[in-house]
């Protein structure tokens, strides 16, 4: 393991020299990938900021923002194939953008419409939002192992927060992954907080990445605000696990710049200076510096992308906000392949009540 988080792009937008950088030469993002990463990251940021302000306007319920964490999410998903399994928790908006999931579905979900979960499995290979912390990780390991059984070369990536690493399912998933040598990548979005609890009180371990060793996994710590490092570490891990090598834990060190959710007030538990320091390490700003210095985009083009993303977020939200009211029947659909008579009776009773009361 490399000492200190892997960094291939410094906060000032320069590419550091040294062994670490050379070692990842094969996993460098090309111009098109850098530009795509920028688009995905600004799409996520714009949607996130818009969602936050929609909440203040009373147009959106509780919302979990991902501002500041876009590099982890976008870099890792971009390094994988569209048919690799994407097992999310609830803060991977950047990754969803990179997968091509329509923003309209994302907004629908957070607006409370069941239809927001209409993401075709064959198109996105995406598991639904998993709110019980860490419970999604064993799914990633099972998906990966099943793909091996079926003889494909697909892998699975499972996301989890730093808080989630304290849960039993984190341990069980890693343990199964190691024992099976499953083609799986576990990606820890270390954003320094689990609601109010700082990373230092979540585990006494020096890094989260080093936990991997005890499970017979590889562990890599990356600068999670450096999209190129996240991409490189994930691409390397993908190559390794696809060819039967050790499953990999990637710890992306980043920061939850916004509140935990719209119901949270982070000023109760952290200093404004700390937040400011991390804002200076913004992953989007860092990428902008690289794009400019490489001559891949002008300032105007960079700003135009942001404007475009903001407009898109507004348009998509307006479109779904006017969604038709859901039907009573919806809750009964997709519960079982076939609705048992006992539930048909419950549905009929609800219909009757609705007819009698208008409610």
């Amino acid at each position: 393991m490399i000492a200190g988080p892997l960094q291939l792009l410094a906060p000032d937008g320069t590419v550091p020299a040294g062994e670490a950088v050379d070692a990842y030469a094969d996993y460098r993002m090309d111009a098109a990938q850098l530009l795509a990463a920028y688009r995905f990251m600004v799409s996520a940021r714009a949607a996130d900021e818009w969602a936050f302000s929609l909440h203040r306007q009373g147009r959106l319920h509780t919302y979990a923002p991902s501002t500041g964490q876009e590099a982890n999410s976008v870099g890792s998903i971009m390094a994988l194939r569209q048919d690799d399994w994407f097992v999310q928790s609830y803060r991977e908006l950047g990754g969803l953008m990179a997968r091509g999931v329509p923003l309209s579905n994302y907004f629908l979900y957070w607006l409370g419409y069941e239809a927001g979960n209409d993401n075709e499995v064959d198109e996105f290979h995406l598991m639904p939002v998993a709110i019980p912390i860490a419970s999604q990780l064993p799914h990633a390991v099972g998906l990966a192992q099943a793909e091996r059984y079926l003889g494909t070369d697909r892998l699975a990536i499972g996301f989890i927060g730093d808080g989630g690493t304290s849960e039993g399912d984190f341990h069980e998933a890693m343990n199964f992954a190691g024992v099976w040598k499953a083609p799986v990548i576990i990606f820890v979005q270390n954003n320094q907080y689990a609601i109010s609890l700082p990373r230092s009180r979540q585990t006494a371990s020096n890094t989260i990445a080093e936990k991997a060793g005890a499970y017979g996994m590889r562990g890599v710590q990356v600068d999670g605000n450096d999209v190129t490092a996240v991409f490189a570490a994930t691409a390397e891990a993908a190559e390794i696990v696809r060819s039967g090598g050790l499953p990999t834990l990637i710890e992306g060190v980043t920061y939850r710049v916004a509140a935990h959710t719209t119901s949270d007030d982070p000023n109760r538990y952290r200093e404004i200076d700390e937040v400011a320091a991390w804002k200076n390490r913004d992953p989007i700003v860092r990428l902008q510096k690289l794009l400019r210095s490489r001559g891949l985009a002008s300032e105007e083009e960079l700003q135009a992308s942001i404007e475009e993303a903001r407009q898109h977020a507004r348009d998509e939200f307006d479109r779904v906000e006017a969604s038709a009211a859901p039907a009573l029947e919806e809750g009964f659909q997709h519960l079982y392949a076939e609705l048992p008579p006992l539930l048909q009776a419950q549905l009929s009773e609800r219909r009757r009540l609705q007819e009698r009361t208008g409610k």
Partner: protein
């Protein structure tokens, strides 16, 4: 036909499941080389190989959680919990994901998987090895809960469970694992989930049970027959979704209802059956329905466990009282 007891019929069903579908995989604790602590999977690893029948680390949440991933990817995992008393570490996976995934993905994903577990008491077992907590699972929308009580039913219901498009909790009454053998079909057969079986027709009282207490109910029925009392005995077989039609038809016919089960009484399966029958057959009832169940107490250690479980004598007594009212 061949002779089987309940555990060998489970074994035979698992073998047919593996044989007939390459997507079926089985795993759990000590189920491979050791064949399972009750020998339910004896010989399966030898026959089908370690790729399809294997042991995994001692971690129930990991077992069920990975099975979810496997089912989404297109396999049909059949996982074993060594005892139902140790399913609780996996409870979060079962309640939060197994039961919900089809619904949460609007039918885009489904979980054809079976979670098997020996359950129930009256075998003088250690602590945590005697409980009947089927009501907990039956209370979770999105699950199916199946409990066989005979070798014939065990194999047929198990095969139907493995092939069901939705997740099934399959609870095996361990006190009946080695009950007398029965002739069961050699090959492949399925018995539909959600259908109860009328074990004995009668018009005196409807007695509904399932799993471990069926043997006691049958013994009581035989005893009553000698006194010329014909009770109607129903083996529920599927706890959720239970066969409302068979229940209500029988209660309308007999006008008297007794439900027998091992699990604690309050909010139990009997509570649901009795309220349902009362709602649907109130005018036909000649006596208040009764429940003979476990009490809302912790199952005692072996020396006093006989106080907990219902015996045939208790069932006979309750039937006679019901007839008198």
């Amino acid at each position: 036909m061949s002779a089987a007891n309940l555990v060998t019929s489970v074994n035979a069903g698992l073998a047919v499941a593996l044989e007939s579908d390459e997507r079926v995989v089985m795993y759990g604790q000590d189920i491979g080389r050791n064949g399972g602590v009750f020998q339910a999977t004896a010989g399966l690893q030898e026959r089908f190989g370690e790729r399809r029948v294997f042991d995994v680390p001692l971690a129930e949440s990991g077992i069920v959680g990975t099975a979810i991933g496997m089912a989404v990817a297109g396999l049909r995992p059949v996982v074993e919990m060594q005892f139902s008393g140790f399913v609780y570490p996996a409870f979060n996976q079962i309640v939060s994901h197994v039961a919900r995934l089809r619904n949460r993905t609007r039918g885009s994903m489904s979980l054809p998987m079976v979670i098997r577990m020996p359950y129930g008491g009256a075998v003088r077992a250690l602590e945590h090895h005697s409980e009947s907590m089927e009501a907990i699972f039956a209370h979770v929308p999105g699950l199916k809960v199946v409990i066989p009580s005979t070798p014939h039913d065990a194999k047929g219901l198990l095969l139907a469970a493995v092939r069901d498009p939705d997740p099934v909790i399959f609870m095996e009454p361990k006190r009946l694992y080695h009950s007398p053998q029965q002739e069961i079909p050699e090959g492949d057969y399925e018995l539909p989930l959600g259908q109860a079986r009328v074990v004995q027709e009668g018009d005196a009282v409807t007695v509904i049970g399932y799993g471990g207490q069926m043997r006691d109910i049958r013994a009581a029925a035989a005893h009553l027959k000698r006194q010329d009392i014909a009770i109607e005995v129903i083996d529920l077989r599927t706890i959720y979704p239970f066969d409302q039609e068979t229940v209500v038809e029988s209660v309308r016919k007999t006008g008297r209802l007794l439900v027998v089960h091992e699990g604690p009484r309050s909010f139990g399966v009997g509570a649901e059956i009795v309220s349902f029958a009362t709602e649907e057959a109130f005018m036909y009832l000649d006596a208040p329905p009764r429940r003979l169940t476990g009490t809302d107490t912790i199952i005692p250690l072996p020396a006093s466990e006989h106080f907990y479980f219902m015996q045939p004598e208790h069932i006979v007594d309750a039937v006679l009282e019901l007839i008198e009212t």
